[in-house]
């Protein structure tokens, strides 16, 4: 089956080896690296001094004055994003703002202009707002593989028909803490890194890169020049270790094989491999194994090089930076070299061709670009010379069902406890979940896990057991895992930052390995032995529904039959389970005292209906439709800059309405026209909203009551507190419970709703029986609103 060809029509890049694609390519082909001693005096405390830095003037010269007050991460991203849009010659207005998406890869939580951590998705929101992009928005954070991962997810959004253009890329700045962490891991080279020959460590770098993806037919129709086809991509999990790659190379090889299968190609079709090539001994040795495993006896005839020898390791940007280089390699029929390569030295893998030091003109029709990350996340992209326009088939619609739930919340751990708490009208907001009474992982692993990973592992184990799935080892190799988190581990991030503040040369390295947002997802894969496609979504409270979308895409494209979605977030301030008199938020109530933050992990198993039926599984509910919409107001563009991160009430109400309408529209048929008219079947018995007990609840309630006629509204935050991504997943789990078991939490404290009548809300525990359809809402206010419609079989 041939799917719609997706091509790259625009490139943007800013990194140590160039301020734009032309300069970047000129330097790559003439061997001019950009690794220099770090200028910032603060870094003088470290022995290793080299990094790939972007000169400030390269940024300033390419940005309008109105962007001057933005933080460095946003400024780097905007430079590259504008370049890509400019090269493609496609503006949001031309493509249609709602049809133009952005998928950004980012490894680090980055500071705002004042130096405070900002939400992971903030950089993306700024770029989207400035460029007027109102289509699909995903922040992917698979650490050092995120940039490549973003390109793959962007292709999916075009194949599902949700977007006609997607800006996909990655960004990360050079941060002192991260530098200290890598120094503490002894992973930094003292000079410019020398991947594949000396392999004595890496250099960090900074930068941003974007690729503009469009369907080939639309690109040609508007007279654009396709630069490369995104023929396929592959994701895999090592399920091996938090930071070290699986030494066999099987994780990396599996990503390449999946990418080639996705592209309908074989290893024999590949002419050049853009390697991850960090320059650490573990990475470089593992990559040599990947080359041999994938290409066998041909391994020595497939040139592979690392441009990290020019720009350093730009973390979340790396995959995108290397994808840009790969597109340019295809366009110019030249393989960029690995510079600093010691040709006389004792190379670790003498039989392989690392394109030493000199660019090599050669015919290139197919490139594989590989990235490997902390957490054992691997990504491979296959880029090819653009083909002719050709007939294609739509991505098939395949029914997916939710077959297992794993709630780990202050109100209860496991479905039975949660159900009991719901029926008893108990509140768990502000309480930490309990993991007592049983084990969830081998003790040898468990004792090394941080709190968030333990919550997520427990949730995953419970969901898996609840689903009744019993799969042999070889089938677990194809089970996918999507992790959703707003901010990752507060414990590890806090512990690491404290250690750096005390002594940058004595970082808490164990915490550092858990600072990457995908660490918890990697820990789940490792514990449950899942080696299928994996990714990590960081769109705040909307992460879980976006993760569900990714799961559905994997099932639709036949890349997985079973996907475990797990969402987890924590606050350091939860109380013990037996604490009395905790404040309870009262969602939708005009008298509510405000939100109560909580810690929780909630997992659910998504399975193709076919797979579930074949094993006589008992699903909770079928996923009828999902919808997302952006909450920033349309005028926040280059023409009318607006830097306030707070949600605009009208825009937020609009986003709720649009996300609900989209979910109904998807449920009602194959058309993707998300108009309110398509919502004629817009009935859901129950809506589990994202209200948290703050003033924004009224906006949501009004939009829900208008958009989902006849529904009764409830929320989960009295039950478990505001747990960011986990609250979104809990809402989905509660909607599933309502459909199968007729259970729904009650708003027992609701007296004066901010919108509508009291009768429109669930105020007593339990329902009259199972509902035919239930909707769950998720929210990252000011950014993305999500809606998930579930129904009985």
């Amino acid at each position: 089956m041939a799917l719609r060809p997706v091509v790259v029509t625009g490139l943007g890049i800013i990194c140590a080896a160039g301020r734009d694609p032309a300069e970047f390519w000129q330097r790559l082909t003439t061997g001019q690296g950009g690794l220099t001693p770090v200028e910032d005096e603060a870094f003088a405390v470290f022995t290793a001094r080299h990094a790939g830095q972007v000169p400030d003037e390269w940024i300033a010269d390419q940005l309008p004055g109105s962007d001057a007050d933005l933080d460095r991460t946003a400024r780097l991203a905007l430079v590259a994003a504008r370049q890509a849009v400019g090269m493609a010659g496609l503006t949001a207005a031309e493509a249609g703002a709602e049809r133009f998406g952005i998928i950004l890869g980012k490894c680090q939580a980055t500071p705002d202009a004042a130096g405070r951590y900002q939400p992971m998705h903030r950089t993306q929101d700024v770029v989207a707002e400035r460029l007027g992009l109102r289509g699909p928005r995903i922040l992917v954070s698979t650490a050092c593989a995120a940039g490549g991962n973003a390109v793959g997810l962007a292709k999916d959004k075009i194949l599902t028909g949700e977007a006609d253009a997607v800006l996909a890329g990655g960004v990360d700045p050079l941060l002192f803490g991260t530098y200290a962490g890598f120094a503490g891991l002894q992973a930094l080279s003292t000079g410019p890194c020398r991947p594949y020959s000396h392999s004595d460590g890496l250099n960090l770098g900074e930068g941003a890169a974007f690729l503009l993806l469009e369907p080939l037919d639309l690109a040609l129709a508007r007279g654009a020049v396709p630069l490369a086809e995104v023929a396929g991509y592959g994701l895999s999990a090592d399920a091996y270790h938090a930071t070290a790659p699986d030494p066999t190379g099987r994780g990396g090889a599996s990503a390449v094989r999946r990418a080639l299968a996705d592209a309908g190609l074989t290893p024999g079709d590949v002419q050049y491999v853009s390697g991850h090539g960090t320059g650490t001994p573990a990475n470089d040795a593992m990559e040599a194994k990947v080359m041999r495993l994938v290409f066998g006896e041909r391994a020595g005839q497939v040139p592979t090089s690392s441009i990290k020898s020019f720009v350093g390791h730009t973390l979340g940007a790396a995959g995108a930076v290397e994808a840009v280089a790969s597109v340019l390699a295809l366009r110019h029929a030249t393989a960029p070299p690995t510079i600093g390569f010691d040709e006389d030295g004792q190379g670790r893998a003498g039989d392989l061709d690392f394109v030493p030091n000199m660019a090599r003109p050669m015919p290139i029709g197919t490139v594989v670009s590989n990235n490997y990350a902390f957490g054992g996340n691997n990504v491979s992209l296959v880029l090819t010379t653009p083909g002719e326009p050709r007939p294609y088939e739509e991505l098939p619609r395949r029914d997916a069902v939710i077959t297992g739930l794993g709630p780990v919340t202050g109100a209860g751990t496991g479905v039975a406890e949660l159900t009991e708490a719901v029926l008893a009208g108990r509140h768990g907001a502000g309480r930490g979940p309990s993991l007592e009474g049983r084990t969830f992982a081998p003790r040898s692993l468990w004792r090394h896990m941080n709190h968030l990973s333990r919550l997520a592992i427990a949730a995953s184990r419970l969901a898996w057991e609840d689903s009744g799935l019993k799969l042999p080892r070889k089938d677990l190799d194809d089970v996918a895992l999507i992790f959703a988190t707003g901010a990752g581990s507060a414990e590890s991030t806090g512990g690491f930052d404290e250690s750096i503040a005390v002594n940058p040369n004595k970082p808490a390295v164990l915490s550092f390995s858990n600072v990457v947002l995908n660490a918890t997802g990697g820990a789940v894969c490792q514990t449950l032995g899942l080696r299928g496609p994996t990714t990590t979504i960081c769109n705040g409270g909307a992460s879980a529904s976006i993760a569900l979308d990714c799961a559905l895409e994997l099932i639709r494209s036949g890349k997985a039959e079973v996907v475990l979605v797990v969402a987890a977030d924590e606050t350091t301030g939860t109380a013990a389970l037996d604490t009395e008199d905790l404040p309870v938020p009262s969602p939708y109530d005009s008298g509510s005292a405000g939100a109560v933050r909580g810690s929780a992990a909630v997992a659910f198993v998504v399975e193709s209906a076919e797979h579930c039926a074949a094993r006589d599984g008992r699903p909770y509910a079928k996923v009828l439709g999902t919808g997302h919409a952006n909450g920033d107001a349309a005028p926040h563009t280059d023409a009318a800059p607006h830097t306030d991160a707070a949600p605009h009430a009208d825009a937020d109400a609009d986003a709720v309405a649009r996300s609900i309408a989209r979910a109904f529209a998807v449920a009602s048929g194959p058309t993707t026209a998300a108009t309110p008219a398509a919502a004629s079947g817009a009935v859901a018995g129950l809506v589990v909203g994202a209200a948290d007990g703050t003033a924004g609840d009224g906006t949501e309630a009004a939009a829900v009551l208008a958009g989902a006629s006849g529904a009764r509204l409830t929320a989960s935050t009295a039950l478990a507190g505001d747990c960011q991504a986990a609250s979104g997943a809990l809402n989905i789990a509660l909607a599933a419970l309502a459909v199968r078991d007729g259970v729904a939490p009650a708003l027992t404290g609701l007296a004066a709703p901010r919108a509508g009548d009291l009768a429109a809300y669930v105020t007593k525990p339990g329902l009259d029986g199972p509902v035919d359809r239930a909707m769950a809402l998720t929210a990252a206010p000011g950014s993305v609103r999500g809606a998930v419609l579930l129904g009985a079989q």
Binding site: Y240, D246, P247, T248, G249, R250, A253, A285, A288, K289, R292, L293, R348, A349, T439, A441, P442, R443, S444, P472, R473, T527, G529
Partner: protein, 354 residues
């Protein structure tokens, strides 16, 4: 019980009785086989290791109760070494436990298959199925600094760099093979559990890339890295702590047979500890008294001539406060020095798999 590979062994093979198994002690000479194992790659006939399968709905619960480490989540791609204890905390056997799709497979120590089987059957409160597979499966080992190269040539290069205690179900010449990265000697080590009818073929093919080593060379190399050899080290009345096998027991587990006795030994402290020594003249017999300053502080557990050290190497079980490295002790009238393990640094530690 004779080795199923006996007909494939060379004529001059010297056999010995180890527990209930007749095993090849050496195929040529100890010195030669030891050098092969420490410097190149050795093929081992581990047919003396019994193989017992535990299946049934309660297989994991049963195994979790009779094994001293945590096997609740031992998946089919992992194995681990652990002990089985009796209610008094005495070591019954030291096993490699393999996670399997439908339960576990236990590999006994050399010559202890019968004892292991009897112990499992006697403790089968859960009514699990216990099947002795020693008649239809056997174990071949590869051990040495270049054993990974043999794996690549023999089966699949991908398997060579498997992480320690990882297991892969694979095939070799059409036969199902349970392949594991293990290691007894500090060198790169692998095991292959194969149907007996394919064992001779695999043995012969392995010998095209490596040389055979017998039980003597294997046990010497094990001793040199302080890998426990139960048949020598488990003595009447010795606790797990005295034997030095604490690492094969997980007391954080809520319950297992022998747990209370192990906890009591931990809490009691005192008693004896096992320490390596070298030097002296001749090889002292087990039970030889150990003296310091005219005081009897313990006895020799096991001693041999170490080819690697060119000297006597042994284990002594002595008063706990004297179980430290660098002490001069008197054994059988000659002076010996206590050591920290490993007593020989394996060559594999400085050789990467490529």
């Amino acid at each position: 019980m004779a080795s199923v590979l006996a007909s494939a062994h060379p004529q001059q093979t010297v056999y010995g009785q180890v527990g209930d198994a007749t095993v090849p002690l050496r195929f040529s000479s100890l010195d030669e086989e030891y050098k092969v194992l420490r410097e190149r790659a050795a093929v081992l006939d581990l047919g003396g290791h019994g193989l017992i399968e535990i299946t049934g709905p309660d297989a994991v619960a049963f195994a979790q109760r009779v094994l001293a480490r945590d096997v609740e989540y031992l998946t089919s791609d992992r194995c681990m070494m652990t002990l089985l204890l009796d209610a008094d905390g005495q070591v019954v056997d030291q096993v490699l436990a393999f996670g399997r799709e439908d339960g576990l497979l236990l590999e006994s120590s050399c010559g202890a298959g019968g004892r292991l089987l009897a112990h499992l059957q006697a403790n089968n409160d859960e009514g699990v199925e216990i099947t002795d597979r020693s008649g239809d499966l056997t174990v071949l080992g590869l051990e040495g600094p270049y054993a990974w190269g043999v794996v690549g040539r023999l089966i699949d290069a991908e398997l060579a760099s498997l992480p320690f205690e990882s297991v892969v179900d694979t095939t070799w010449n059409g036969a199902d093979v349970v392949f594991a990265r293990t290691g007894f000697t500090g060198e790169y080590g692998y095991q292959m559990i194969v149907p007996v009818e394919h064992a001779a073929d695999l043995w012969r093919q392995s010998l095209e890339h490596a040389q055979a080593a017998g039980q003597e060379a294997l046990e010497l190399a094990m001793l040199e890295v302080r890998q426990p050899i139960p048949r020598h080290e488990v003595t009447e009345g010795a606790t797990v702590v005295e034997i030095g096998a604490n690492w094969l027991v997980d007391v954080t587990k809520d319950e297992f047979v022998g747990r209370e006795a192990v906890l009591a030994a931990f809490e009691a402290g005192g008693g004896r500890r096992t320490i390596g020594f070298s030097g002296g003249e001749g090889v002292p017999a087990p039970g030889t008294r150990v003296w310091v300053n005219g005081q009897d502080i313990g006895e020799v557990v096991h001693a041999v001539h170490s080819v690697g050290l060119g000297a006597t190497l042994g284990l002594a079980r002595v008063d706990h406060d004297l179980a430290a490295a660098g002490l001069e002790l008197t054994v059988g009238g000659t002076e010996v020095t206590t050591l920290t393990s490993p007593y020989i640094v394996p060559k594999s530690w400085s050789i990467p798999i490529i």
